[in-house]
Structure formats: C-alpha cells, structure tokens
Symmetry: C2
Subunit: 480 residues, 2 copies
C-alpha cells in the first residue's frame, strides 16, 4: 500500500500540532500561559515510557536520582558570572509571597548548576567520595521571547532531565562527558532517533562551560533540533563558590564538574521522526499501547458475539505476556473509524479479529509503519507479535537513519551550502580553518546556525571563508 507523507513532510509544523492535539498527547495553546502545555493521559504515558528508559540507563551507570527545590535565590544564581550572563534574560522571578514582597527575589530554576553545586559542597568533602553523579527530572523555566512551539520551545520545559557530576580532575570530568554522550547515544538508538554528535563552537557553548558536546537530529521539515547536550564545566562553578575537596595528598582543590541534559524535545522527536499522513508511528518501546485489537463484526449477531469473545481471549493472551494491549470493543464506531483513531495514536500493531480469524483460529496483525498485514496462528500469537515488534523497531530505526544520512551533505562552497539549507535540506558540512571569525562569518552569510565540529577532526579541502587549509569540517543548519 502506498504510504502518503505529504502533510508530514511538506507541512510538518501543522502535522505536529494536529497529531498532539487529535491524538490527545499534549494540549498546547489553550492553557492561558504562553509556552505551557498540558500532558494529557495518552501523552503522559509516552512521556513516562521515555523517562523510564533514561532512568534505567542512568541508574545502570551509577547515577543517583535526587530532587532539588524549584526556587533559586537571586544571589545564588548570580554566583557564576558567565552563567548568569547567559541566563539572566530568560529567568522568571518570584517577588511576592501572599501580600508580602520577598526580601530577596527567587528565580524559577532555568537549570540547576548553582543549586546543586551548593549542596555538593556540603555533601562531598574528599576525593574518596568522588566521582559522584546526580540527576533529576523536573520542570525548568525559560522566559523565551522567540516564537514558542509545543514541546520544542516552551517556557515550562516539564520533562527536563538534568545530570550533574563532580570529579577530582579535569580528565575525569572529560571522561564523564564522553560517558554522557555514550548514554544519550544508546538512549536515542533504542528510541530509533538518528543524531550527529558535535562539539559546539566556542561562541555557542553552555554559559559557564569549558566546552559543550551536543546531539542534534533533523526534523521532517529539514531543521536541526538539539536533543541532548553535555557540558564540561571545569572549575567554573566550584571556583565561583569556592568549593574545595581534599585530595589524597592532603591538599585542597576545586573539583571539576559536568552537567548534561535532555528535555521534552526527545518526546517531540520520537513522535515526529516516523510519521506519515495518518499520524505518528510510535516505536514499541515507548508506545502506551503496543497493539490494539479491533473486532470485525460477522454476518449475524451470533457470529459477532463469538468474534467479540474470541477478541477478548486474544486480549488476555497478549496481556498475560506483559504486552500493553487494548481492545476497542466500542459499538458506536465502524472498524474503519477505529483504524483511523488508532493510526492517529501511533499504535505500532493492529490486531484484526473477524469471521476469518475466528474460523481459522488466527489473528491478523497489521503493521502501522508499512501497513502490511500477516495472519498468525493463535498458538504463535505472542511469539509472532514480539517478532513483529522487533522487526518494526529495526525498520523504523533503519528508515530514520537512511533519511537522516541523506540530509547531511558536504559542500565545498558556502553558496551551495546556503542553497541547500534554504531548501530545508538538513545539515550542511563545510571545510573550516578553525578560526572563530570564519565560523561567525559562515553563520552570518548562510543565515543559519553553526552546530559545531565532529569530535574526530575531518579536515577536507579549504576553509570556505578564508581559503586556508581546513582543520575540520563545520556543521551548519537551520535550527529550532
């Protein structure tokens, strides 16, 4: 069957708004605070499956979950000069409690480096307690003045997973940044999200970091989306707060830190990356409902009753195997209307149970991604269902990566790169001499954003600005 991706690819923004609203994932634009969305029950479950997965990956690697206060006193937030410079225009301020004006203003956390460093300085005094890795999943707030977009650019990021680590040495912190990138890579691999890993340029690193490594994907409209970042914070915060730990030799040093985060954007990506004009296609690992059973009425009421009973049996067989399954037995909709709804909700497998299935003791499994169907015997249902899920997951990942790779292109001239980006091509790579001045000129001339450089330098040709031999390639994209 021909799968249409017209709406999805050529009018992605509208497609996304339609999906999150009609599939009852995320209510956006109706709650009367700009840039704030509501996670509806179905969306909340997708979100929960995503957070469960990242929790697992972090717990396995020695991260400890914590929960810090939302409010950060102004003086604390201003401890690290570069940090506050980067965030001060984005901070929401609490100034009153009841009718009282507060003695000091409180920021709604835009991120938690200062709050966590402060407590680390009370908890961790010596080298034998290092390294230590914390994380929390919380709301953070940014007073965005640019156009807001559901899940992607919001004022309340309600699914901000921020990790914060402390280390004795610069090198150990650098290794931690590598581990963070590895964890995120694994996370995105499981979700089937393709990405490029780039070292952000000096002028776009995190406010208060030595350097920033970022993971970017490409949305269906060709714009790059930052979906994960990891920062080497060096001693910026520990020096600003004069936090020292004792080393084995008795000396005291300011420890090194890292922080790394992901947000609601991961959920936006997982919903978008495999869409078609019927809606999203959720990877089984995050789908709230992995399979939906649709009974097809028979010729007589008696037949229909038997079919419904058989559908319930199929439901309990799958449920008992731990598969998240739903039976849509509603009588006010035709099977076709049900197909429409559950495709819109992105359920990866549809299980049709009609007269044929009843008589032959089978179930008809239909893939949401390819719309291909397959009849399986009842006795093999669970095994076949699991196999099909694995196949779907693998195919979704493969297709997403193929599309992604087609959209990352290398150019030897800035004009070509510019044209490519103007046509919403994806990510352009151009040779670069490594100088900030040339990088900034590139940004200006192509009217796009520099994502940075590959971690392993890939010199190829001459810098597209100054013509000197390149030291690496530079990645550029229209971004969210």
């Amino acid at each position: 069957m021909k799968i249409s991706r017209e709406k999805w690819s050529s009018n992605f923004s509208e497609w996304f708004d339609w999906v999150i609203s009609q599939a009852e994932i995320y209510d956006y634009g109706r709650y009367p605070v700009k840039g704030s969305g509501v996670w509806m029950p179905y969306g909340f479950k997708i979100r929960q499956n995503v957070t469960t997965l990242i929790r697992k990956l972090l717990d396995e690697t020695g991260h400890e979950e914590v929960l810090f206060p939302l409010l950060i006193p102004e003086t604390l937030l201003k401890k690290e000069a570069e940090h506050i410079k980067g965030f001060e225009k984005e901070v929401f301020w609490v100034t009153h409690g009841g009718e009282d004006e507060l003695e000091e203003r409180f920021a709604l956390r835009p991120t938690s480096e200062v709050a966590i460093t402060l407590m680390e300085s009370l908890w961790i005094k010596g080298y034998s307690q290092l390294p230590r890795k914390f994380y929390q999943i919380v709301s953070v707030f940014r007073y965005e003045t640019k156009a807001t977009r559901p899940m992607i650019r919001v004022r309340e990021l309600s699914t901000f997973k921020e990790a914060h680590t402390v280390h004795e040495t610069f090198e150990d912190a650098a290794r931690q940044v590598d581990e963070a990138v590895e964890i995120y890579s694994k996370f995105f691999d499981i979700l089937g999200i393709p990405y490029l890993i780039s070292r952000r340029p000096e002028w776009d690193k995190f406010a208060g970091a030595e350097y920033t490594i970022a993971l970017d994907t490409i949305m269906p409209d060709g714009r790059a989306l930052q979906i994960g970042t990891a920062h080497h914070l060096g001693q910026h915060f520990t020096k600003a707060m004069d936090y020292k730990v004792q080393r084995a030799d008795g000396s005291h040093v300011h420890p090194h830190q890292t922080s790394y985060g992901i947000s609601d954007r991961v959920i936006a990506t997982v919903i978008s990356i495999n869409g078609d004009d019927h809606g999203p296609i959720l990877p089984p690992v995050v789908a709230p409902i992995e399979g939906v059973i649709i009974p097809i009425p028979g010729k007589s009421e008696e037949d229909t009753e038997k079919i419904n009973k058989y559908a319930m049996e199929v439901e309990s067989v799958l449920k008992n195997s731990g598969i998240r399954v739903a039976l849509d037995a509603s009588e006010d909709k035709t099977p076709g209307e049900k197909y429409y709804i559950w495709e819109l909700k992105g359920v990866p497998i549809r299980i049709e149970i009609g007269p044929r299935e009843l008589n032959s003791g089978t179930a008809f499994l239909k893939r949401r991604d390819t719309l291909e169907g397959k009849s399986v015997k009842r006795e093999e249902l669970v095994k076949e269902f699991r196999n099909l899920e694995d196949q779907i997951s693998a195919d979704l990942r493969k297709r997403a990566w193929e599309q992604f790779k087609e959209r990352v292109k290398r150019f030897q001239s800035l004009d070509e790169a510019k044209k490519f980006l103007e046509n919403r091509g994806g990510i352009a790579e151009v040779p670069w001499c490594g100088q900030d001045s040339c990088g900034l000129k590139i940004e200006e001339q192509v009217q796009a954003r520099v994502l940075g450089t590959p971690l392993k330098p890939e010199p190829s040709g001459n810098c597209v600005v100054c013509g000197k031999p390149s030291t690496n390639i530079l990645r550029i994209a229209k971004t969210y």
Copy 2:
C-alpha cells in the same frame, strides 16, 4: 534485647531532624530558601517507592495521570471566590520574566482545581465521557508564615499527589469521595500507617468545597498529622467558570467535581511511625534496601576471603529473586559500625555472614524492629527472607495501630480532654451537639484543633459545651 524509644518518643522533632539528615534522606534547613528541602538519593528512593504504590492504586481504579503547568494566571486563580479567599495569603507570585514586568502575575500552583477545571471544560463535553478521573504528582507552593518543618510544613511540597474528578451528579461525586477515602485507607494499610477518618467541620473544609473528609494519624509526639484529604467540590468551580456538560436528555448542567490529595507528609509518617533510638524502621514495601549483608571477618585472611565470597553468593541469590539487597563490603569499618549505619537507614533485615554461617552454609537474619535473629539454611534463604519480611510488615502495622488506639481517648468533659491534649496524649473525642458555635468554643477552650466527626455518627452523652444531647462525637487534637 531491650529497644530504647527514649529519643524517639520524648524528643521526636529532634529525632526526626537527626534521622533525615544522618540517614541522608532529606537535606533541610541548609538550602537557602526557607521551607525547601532536597531529596537526597536514599530519600528519593523511599519517595519513589511510595509514589509507585499510590500510582498503582490510582491506575487500578481508572485514574489517568496527567501533568499540568506550574503557573496559574492571577485572573484564573481568582475565578472561584471562596477558593482564592482560602489561598490568597499563601500564594507565591511570579511578576517578572527576564527584565520585563509581566502583563499579568502568575501564581505558583498552590493546588490545581482551577487549572484542571479549565482544561476539563475543553476536553469533556457530554455525559458519556463521565466520570473522568485525573491525577498528577507535582510540586505545589504555599507561602507558609508559620514555623516550617521538614516534609511536614514546607513552602515547596515536592510530592503533592492531587487527583481531580468530574461527575454528572452530586451523588456520583459523593461516591467518588468515598472511593478516594477507600484508596487512601488501602494505601496507608499497606504502608502500616494508622489513621482516623473524619469529616472536617464546616469551618475547616477546603476552600471551595461542599465538604471535606480527612485522614489523620498521630505522630510519636502525640500531635495529629493530616495525611490525606478528599473534597466534594460540588459545582463550585464549574459554576464559577460556567462549565457545562450535556446530559442524556439534551439539557446542559454544571458537572460536579471532587479533588483529593496526599503529600510528602506520608513519607514523613512512614519514616517516623516505627522509629526507635537507632533510627527509623522502614516497612519492606518502601525500603530502598530490604536487606543488607554484613560480612564478619574470620580469624585468618583466608577465612575472611572465603566469607566475603560467600557473602557475594548470598547477595546474588537474593538479588536474582528480585529482592533489593546491598552488600556492605567496605573495609574501613567494623561490623559494629556498619550495624549502626544501616540501622540508622532503617533497613528492615540485616544478614550477617561470618565464620559460623560459612561453615554451616547458613545466613543469620536479624530483624530491625525487634532486633531478634534467626539462622536460616542457604537453600531456604529466599523463602525465609520473604516470610520474615511479611512478619515484619504485619508486626509493624500491628504495633503502630496498637499505639495509635491507645492515643485516641473519649472524654465526657472538656477539662479532661484538655489535660489529655496538653500532655500530648493524642486525639480526644468528646460528645457534641453538632452546632458550629459549640465546636468553635471547644477549639478555643482546649487550645487545640477540631479534626471533625466520624462518618457514622456516634452520639454518646451530652455536648461538652451546651449540655444538650450529642448528635456525634467531635475529635480534637494538637496538630501540626
């Protein structure tokens, strides 16, 4: 062995501060925002086990988890007159974004009735969609002016589980309040927390409710603690926001609502209720570590090595059965020092592995609550461990209820009740005629708080104020 409860019972407040700090549960009083605590890794896991349990109970009964924005615009919060009257002195206000003054102030949610009602009015239009039950677990904020206390009276309640439901009729909403009380009762029963269910007096119901049912427990110092409330909201909010649904007969009515909540106080209670002077005793269901293995060194290094190896075997046997177990193999502490630490952390079972256990192929299980020990065969370890956990859970529950019942006393005169409460006795019950004026006089005269009345009236004797025949008993207590 004699178990000392001196510190725990006679200086509870100090005991609690000591436990949450030394057991690394909740860092309080050091983060520079009054009434804000930090959930440390060990405490976070207790919290997580508690929230997992309430999620399960709510999901099983058709509740759907959602996530609403933190910020509530001032005009929205002020829609329901009684509601805002009850909360206006407690609200934190956000007035600035970056350097801009906001056009409208935003409240940090003190609770979410108005926000959720607004979205319900967009989501639920007709009777066939009713009832609908939502919940979320979020931070809420109260600008408390009274003395704050860790977990018990804070400005950021970081574990606020609030449920919100919509119904066609008053009666259906009333049944929902009953269900809420049932769910909370089950929840507290599983946690081993004793409670009384009272209908709050008219003058102390939730701001914007028809009536409020509350669950109160008694802390070790004899003060009552409200640990759960359920409110019948009637049509207060739906009328204030003119939200109507269509009934089967085509007419439009304002639906009825309920809301019910629990908070961090449940975690404070579960930590406190079974304490002794060594620390808390966590019920196995919420203990982050159900059993801790302590190797006891042998006479020779060789023996010690064998013991350590055996301890690791014991660890993997328990782990493979899904038991949350830890092996404390640290070499810088004596077994006695380890006992101290893990008792302080409230681990319900200690597993001692020494020369005797090695030679006889056994493990020595020691109960945290009674300090009784028992040698079990390796082959029966998992079964015995599980049995012991069940026994501990049952005994903790029984002991807590016995203590609780001793602290709920009935009096025929106000003087006696007053004396009882002044000695931090617990909850006093006195005959009451049912008039608000007499109830308020009782509060004033005993300098305590009225908790309300039993749901099933228990008239007994004459009103302690006016002397008329009682219609029910009234419960009074010194409260948190």
